[in-house]
Amino acid sequence: MRTHFSRSAFIEGVRDMLPMTVGLIPFGIVCGVGAIAAGASPVAALAMSMIVFSGAAQIIAAQLLAAGAPFAVIVLSCFVISLRFLMYSAALAPYLKPVAHRWRNLVAFLLTDQAFASSIRRFRESSDIRANVSYFVGGGAVLWLAWQIATIAGILAGAVIPASWQLEFVVPLCFLALLAPLLHDRTALIVFAIAAIAAIALDSMPMRLSMICAGLAGIVAGVIADRVLGRSATTEVEPGN
């Protein structure tokens, strides 16, 4: 098995990701608070953060658990909300072809919105796959560690934080920070408009199926817009940070 570790790139990944963890901490706290509020034990809440490592899925699971939803509904909802990882996986796939299985699995486990957003450009621009993977893993490891610390903070101090702070508003803000820089051409604006209208119109669908349906509506609109406007407008998978 070829080695895919570059110490300097790993450290660079750690360093670049540190500012991002500040935004992740409130998100993780919200998840810890949510799990406890849903009736999970502190150990289960932490285990969920360690294994699932996905804020959106954890929040949905906690909300549905608190609402007394059946097991199958919780699992299906988490699957639906995790469908966005399909796109990250697909976008990274061409670059990970030469990488050993063990490292591919590690990249997959550490694949998050933030890790993807901050490393995709590097994967595109540099052919040093060994350094790229190490960079990704360095950033991913920092995020994972920060996520556990934040969850513990949420479990311990959650009840102390007043509801009027509306800390959960950090969650859409995090995604907004990734979304807004993408809206830089007409095609992207059409995708945004159609997905937004669909998300509102379909909101009453069960299990938050509206999310993936609205996403698909936006994607179809984007493909059609490409055809109509000519394919000159390329929507880069290149969020800020």
Partner: protein, 101 residues
């Protein structure tokens, strides 16, 4: 439940990395995938800010979350900085709640 949800998450994350490790991606799929980030992020963000309560659409100036998100969106678009976006968005929400709400 935790293990099942964890397995699902890992599965979706690995899916295409494993699938396209050996073969080429169809061009139409590759083009469609370029739109996925904007489409999915919109589908995640919009419902979280336009509903005052579950099922209660609020697109007016009375919806402090919507106004705060618009302010944060402009900041995100202009400066591409996650921390700044979160800080401005939360500050806007708190201020609006104090003076408007």
């Amino acid at each position: 439940m935790i293990v099942v949800v964890g397995a699902i998450n890992f599965g979706t994350r690995l899916s295409f990395i494993a699938l396209f490790a050996r073969r080429e991606m169809p061009p139409l799929l590759a083009r469609a995938l370029r739109h996925v980030p904007a489409a999915m992020l919109t589908a995640i963000v919009v419902p979280a800010i336009v509903f005052a309560a579950p099922g209660e659409l609020a697109l007016g100036a009375g919806n402090v979350k919507l106004i705060a998100a618009l302010v944060a969106g402009v900041v995100a678009w202009r400066w591409r900085n996650t921390l700044l976006t979160i800080a401005v968005g939360m500050a806007a929400l708190w201020l609006l709640q104090r003076f408007v709400g």
